[in-house]
Symmetry: D2
Subunit: 337 residues, 4 copies
């Protein structure tokens, strides 16, 4: 059974990655890929790597263009999905990669994002307890933020197992540049980025409320850094131990959470995640230990920010919502070296 998908806002990197995944998806076909300023342009002119799209062109982002599909994926600039979704039939399945519908608490939204709170949709992280079923039953799913998903998957099992203190969680995460999008900005030029690393949005990143909501952490500091690579996020999460906690306890908590999970992999003891191992995939690599000096629990998670951090996550949710095999069209074998 094949389903039809429309991708709204397909001219950016996340939208392009959705188009790439769907091009080879056995049961989903793209019936419309829309853009705003690039409506009417050739898809391969904007995404020269998407050879299979041949002569196809972006259409305009209108409810009409999207409503013929079985499911709409939104990879729009921030702040636009609420208004667009409101114009779509309520029974048309929508997965939104924007932040607009992730947070339940209006106050948390207003503290970190511009504009009014658009309300909460089903949170699109299937690996969280209960979410797989909720997503499958939902018509409105808000997919996760990139830093957020890596951090949540690292942290949640520790809190669920009761081995970590929910306060004073410390997160430091590095991301490749595609997470910043393709608008030309000086600080994103190759000449500025290659051979350098630098922090940004220090102590104030908008993914913090999302991480707290999804894990139960009560206070969390976050420092993101820009890394000289096109893709990948490595999130280093440290939490204070609740009582005496050993490295074995940490691995046990991660194992309990992820044994049987297709996309999230606890590595063999002693092996640490590498973003390249998840390159081009929807996979997540995790590993944890206890710091020998302070006793802090340290868990690191590696993802592809365009994979599990964006387009992969969206397609995983779409598969669930359409009743398809959850891993359809999604690989766990990274493109490495």
């Amino acid at each position: 059974m094949t389903y039809q998908v429309a991708v709204a806002g397909a001219s950016g990197y996340a939208g392009g990655e959705v188009l790439r995944i769907l091009a080879d998806h056995p049961q989903l076909e793209v019936v419309a890929a829309s853009a705003h300023s690039q409506a009417g342009e050739s898809i391969t002119a904007v995404h020269p790597h998407l050879t299979a799209y041949g002569d196809r062109r972006f259409c305009e982002t209108t409810p009409e263009a999207l409503s013929g599909a079985d499911l709409v994926i939104m990879t729009l600039p921030h702040g636009q999905s609420a208004a667009l979704a409101a114009q779509l039939p309520a029974d048309l399945k929508v997965v939104d990669l924007g932040a607009d519908h992730r947070l339940e608490d209006a106050a948390a939204w207003e503290a970190y994002y511009p504009g009014p709170h658009a309300g909460a949709w089903t949170y699109g992280l299937p690996e969280l307890a209960g979410q797989r079923e909720a997503i499958a039953a939902s018509n409105r799913v808000a997919a996760t933020g990139c830093y957020a998903v890596a951090t949540i998957l690292a942290l949640r099992p520790l809190l669920d197992a009761g081995i970590a203190d929910p306060s004073d969680v410390v997160v430091v995460a590095a991301s490749g540049t595609s997470g910043a999008g393709n608008s030309p900005k000086k600080n994103l030029l190759a000449s500025e980025v290659i051979g350098s690393m630098s922090p940004y949005k220090v102590g104030a990143h908008q993914h913090v409320p999302e991480i707290k909501q999804a894990t139960g952490a009560t206070s969390l500091s976050m420092t993101p850094l820009l890394a000289p690579m096109p893709r990948g996020i490595i999130s280093t999460v440290t939490a204070r131990p609740a009582g005496d906690v050993t490295a074995a306890d940490v691995r046990a908590a991660l194992s309990k959470a992820y044994d049987g999970e297709h996309f999230v992999h606890l590595l063999a003891e002693g092996a640490w995640p590498a973003t390249a191992s998840t390159y081009g995939t929807n996979a997540v690599q995790v590993q944890g230990t206890v710091d020998r000096d302070s006793g802090r629990i340290i868990v690191t998670a590696a993802i592809d920010n365009l994979g599990k951090g964006a387009a992969g996550q969206v397609v995983q949710c779409a598969n669930l919502m359409l009743g398809l095999p959850e891993a359809a069209g999604l690989t766990v074998n990274g493109v490495a070296p």
Copy 2:
């Protein structure tokens, strides 16, 4: 119908890429992946990105381990495939990524390679006239060299169309580092490679006789350069024009050769190949023009050295040899950005 494949010498980058492609191939399954010094080791310990291989281990590279398969892919260190193939049943299909069986002329072999000439197998480049059928009918196929395939695909159409002089062809090609393999060598350390480019094997690269054999070029200079990226080859091929040749003539020759070809794409006029567009794929991007000052024809071709330059090519040949759809398990949509 599923066929069984054995991969001999699967612990290197090319072998790892074969394993990656086959993991998601709908009709081929890996029944044995062999290694030499790493026989017995976990596949994911050597290739941490190949998550789907779970607990599987490399076996030893022996005829017994390989003979149970329908087809054997050899990604061995140079000089080893002839001896191994000689021990396999003649009716067992073999695709060799080594150079040992590419050249027809023993003198050409001896001029560029150590050891005796092992004889010629069917040359594994399906896009050359007649090769598709020859490969499909053959039990012994020698897949192409990485620089060679990019250069041949750029040059051959010019000679076939009679618009280029077969003498004094000039090739300058840059490659990412995975083409040099994973043996630890100082000059391949990230600290030596990142932020730098340098030529090597200048004017003496072993792919020259292969290129001449496959294109009909009568004299050809070649300068390879190492580039600070993990994958990708961009080959710049210049040839003297035979008579008055325009850019339109060049594009027409490329178009004639590649219209209808699934993996080789002549870009729209004015668009030039980028290796990232072929990243992780079996695709080839080509474009050509005429130099305004000298009249030389210039054609550039971009590939993934592990894709069309190695593992992708091998799987494309295997598909033909087993009567499967030629593009089974092979994508043309690059992992980009």
Copy 3:
């Protein structure tokens, strides 16, 4: 004796590199650094690496701001230097990094550049025969193009020695991204550049007439490629041999040209140039051989495009014009790894 230098157009990468070199120059001090849209801005806000500039700000690019100096260095956007120079006193020494005054032949200028030919100044490449003295005696010097200088230094000795044919020279050169400047453009984003190489301005680069003028080549094809590194140019130059030419003849020609030259180094036999070896310097590495199959002479030259390819060259010329030691403030030790 200290001299005062004004830098016009100092907010770009080349201007920034001039400021960097002059900050530590024992005999030159920067009295004015001008910019256009960034006039009034803090220098370190635009060039965060230039710590020694403290609170200094860009001034406006006016004749008044520049005329107080002993020498003016122009690193303006293309097409602006002629008009500005015309407003400066004739006896005020000027070194221009723009292309405006490099070419002697108006027809050559009009064939490759927009706007009218501004006339020719003294060509700023001291290593060419006679140029050192001409530069030292001149008040108006046009510094070289980046690809041009690497290519000229590789090619000129072959023609001077009479071992190469001046026609049908073939050049393929790769450059790091800083050569493209810091205007935000999508194709220069890190996400587009990292992990990829692609050609541009194929067969039509504007440095061709400059190379021909400086070497005597009569026809020359050129293919530039963008490489995933911030700095560096490696130019591969091939020329047909004039008679029987050996690799030893090639090295002898290069040796004759460069023995005794401080900045241009013929490497030991068998060692090939690497751009990282020239990183942050005014040095040039060269090496040559003869292609075994075609007999073509192949010479490769590595530079730092912001070093000998721009700011280093400019300061070298300024030193000569002010009667200072030619290497003052300029190193030959690359920042590597």
Copy 4:
């Protein structure tokens, strides 16, 4: 006044960087550069970027070869400096870049390093209170570890100002590859590193006792990560606030510590450190704030791991020990882009 320096163990990256800095140092000249397995080899064969070293060769690492100098810099593999220093005259000034003599507490040494504790020398970080004078008066100085110096400079001012809790400090730091040396290892191959980030020595890095000793921190977790760049360290240090602490308090503490310091720069408010800004220099960029959710103090410091993290630090100490201007031969202007 010129002094003579011998560099022991000069064939690695840190030793090479010492040679580079000293080549252009106005008052220090290298009289001997020693190596072990590469004794007798040409310096430029091992360090092709060190053009100014011409035909000079490494000598053997013997007390005799070193004793003729005014000062010896040791950049040996770990564990070797104690034995060598013991064979040198007590009044021969020595700066050691190895870890052997950094720690005062034998138990701390034995907990993290192999072999016996060699005793403590004067700790080579001039910016710490009292160290400048101590170094200048000492004949035996132990220069700092690379991650350690960036972390110490970020953290110490907070503890000195009494605004941070000395327990439960959390450090996450990323480093370029040159910090891992030039021994060929598979995990340091460009094919493994480019496009990827991964943590290592998680929660167990040997710089922890050094950081605690130099700052007064009582418990500290540390996660290092390998980044795809040749040079640079960015250390993100978080500490719990002691009482109500604002971002202004943090900046005031950093300002108090570093106003007037030549090499350590507190950036303008809102500007965050970038490793490229320190590339090739002895400079340090710092910035701090308070996390809005948790109240944790966050300070980030960027250095060049071969600069202030190794060779730059060593030369800064040597200048002090020889009574030279502290910044002689050392720049603060990064080689960027």
